[in-house]
Symmetry: C2
Subunit: 367 residues, 2 copies
């Protein structure tokens, strides 16, 4: 692995001091900010995530705040998901599309009240898109990036750990709902959500100054639970089919190609900017789609570029994320496959840097 | 320095194979893409840049292409620089501002023809802003990211090297002008520009497939000129006062604060989105501004966060970039200083990770 040169442009987070003290080994850069990727090793972090509880610095999930009378209208312009049934206190996973139906981001929208929303973004400057849409359409809404940094608590012991710091009320938070809880006199939004399939929460830490106090309180409270600093885990997120914007999809892809058709209500999402462009694909379906793919053989190297997927020498897709899974004893991967070859059980070739490997299209993801 | 985890999301460039073969030691991430930062060492690369010639993979300077009848109108909406006098064949450094006058990017605009422009961007997804403005204002213009990757040739021997590959015509290109030159049957835009003060060119490589052929042709042609792979050099760019978006300025800053008032014609740039917001600052001047700052003592550590600048204990600014300069035998730095303390010769304190250092506001940058 290459080294990462430090600069102010690669922003630190309110939790960076804790991350460094915990012995972070590698980073990636996400929304112009440092995101840890390895603490002990990717495989050790994976095992621990499935058995204990971890604290994740996911401050890189920057928020876009919409505030004002047109906030709800603007939110609906951004996504083909119908938001009419959404109430304050709910979180929705929302594909964001441009006027051609291309994916610009795949954030979680947090509805704080009728006229106040947070959009918890993946890796792109969605703020620029949202600000310009508000400007161009002359909407009566304030759009900015507030001082809010999510801290995730993930793993089977998350309820136990979080209840020790915030009280037993957190146990009652339902999936993709949030409540407001006190920490040192501050009201914090806590949602049952996160970028793993092991259960847990995301605390929206409002005010960078309480970042380290909260980090330390959680570490202290969880000593006997074997709490450890962690981060989104490459293996576990592929097993769980959690897509990564920029890896598994880009602005070339529609939500339907990404398997996100279930989050699109293209007919009823009136006002969505990309609605016209998506009506046809919603009706006829995409010609390529995200699939879980098993790759035979020993552990594959890191997937730092698209690996072509071929059938009898013809390219029929690409792999965008891949890792060896200890639990499933195979290489797990995410790829985009053309409809001619996406039937579960189809055997294909993947061109990895280590040579061509046999691969199989799965019926579904592993967890 | 920490390690950087590879992933497809951190895009490779058409020149990455050459960069790796040349022994790149560290990267940063810029526009979701890998940007080399060190080959031999920052100080060796610096010395070599000033004495010989380097090939830089600056594919991270992604292009935004504007094409269509409203291309020129859209370009003027983006910037407070008056573009009426600009002719095809010219490049302009253009601050890009939002409706509040905040900097969104500081790219170079390349006017290919009346209805076709490239915007060669710094590190932010300006494409999102430009696409949404075109959409919101219903402009008749196509906006996208073409397959164009700049390759810079920088250093005192740049004219000699480039003329060996493209012919003596390149010697006649004037500063911030471009010509079109043939390489293997392909027309390439070549501008006299680049992110150093050592002279040189940027070749806008259209079509990733000719990236490595051109890289190899330049390396081969320059063997006796001591050509080497290089990259924007931290020390040299601070000496030259070349600002870095995300380091030295953010969307909190107006162009005037960044010392870019000379690129703003706020009165005559009719149509500029941020014009109203900038009229007052253009008239009264900013209350803080970018300054060259010398920091006393031994070499400072890497500047990975803003260092507070104080006077008698009160914060009066911040340093955002700093490095030891062998040629000027001092630490050179770029900072934003309040008007009460920005007079050349003012002595201030800078709080570095190594402790407080004495610093002086300079009259101008070093080169």
């Amino acid at each position: 692995m290459a080294l990462l040169s430090p600069s102010r442009r690669l922003r630190r987070t309110p939790f960076s001091d804790g991350v460094e003290a915990a012995g972070v080994k590698a980073y990636t850069v996400y929304n112009h900010m440092l995101l840890p990727t390895v603490f002990r090793s990717v495989e050790e972090d994976y095992r621990h995530l499935k058995e204990a509880v971890q604290i994740w610095d996911v401050a890189v999930e920057r928020q876009i705040e919409l505030r004002g009378p047109d906030a709800g209208r603007l939110m609906q312009m951004l996504t083909p998901r119908d938001l009419r049934g959404m109430t304050a206190g709910q979180c929705y996973y929302v594909p964001i599309v441009d006027e051609t139906g291309g994916m610009l981001n795949d954030p979680v929208a947090v509805k704080l009240s009728e006229d106040r929303w947070w959009i918890s973004i993946a890796d792109s400057d969605l703020l620029y898109w949202v600000k310009a849409i508000a400007h161009g359409w002359r909407l009566d809404v304030l759009v900015d990036e507030p001082d809010v940094s999510p801290l995730a608590i993930q793993g089977p012991k998350s309820d136990e750990l979080l209840s020790r710091v915030f009280g037993d009320g957190v146990r009652d938070i339902r999936f993709f709902r949030f409540g407001v809880f006190d920490f040192q006199g501050r009201d914090l939004v806590i949602a049952r959500s996160g970028y793993s399939k092991q259960g847990g929460f995301e605390v929206y830490v409002e005010g960078g100054d309480i970042g380290m106090p909260l980090w330390n309180a959680l570490m202290e409270a969880g000593k006997d639970l074997d709490v450890h600093a962690g981060c989104p885990n490459l293996i576990e997120r592929i097993e769980g089919g959690l897509l990564s914007y920029g890896n598994d999809m880009t602005d070339d892809n529609t939500p339907h190609e990404c398997g996100l058709g279930k989050f699109c209500n293209t007919h009823s999402a009136i006002g969505c900017i990309g609605r016209d462009a998506l009506l046809r694909v919603a009706k006829e379906g995409p010609v390529q789609e995200i699939r879980a793919i098993s790759i035979d053989g020993p552990p594959v190297p890191g997937c730092d570029r698209w690996w072509p997927v071929t059938s009898e020498g013809t390219v029929v897709g690409r792999v965008s994320s891949a890792a060896w899974s200890p639990d499933f004893d195979t290489n797990v991967a995410i790829g985009m496959i053309r409809m001619t070859h996406w039937t579960p059980g189809t055997v294909l070739d993947v061109e990895t840097p280590d040579g061509t490997r046999r691969a199989t299209v799965n019926r579904c993801f592993w967890i």
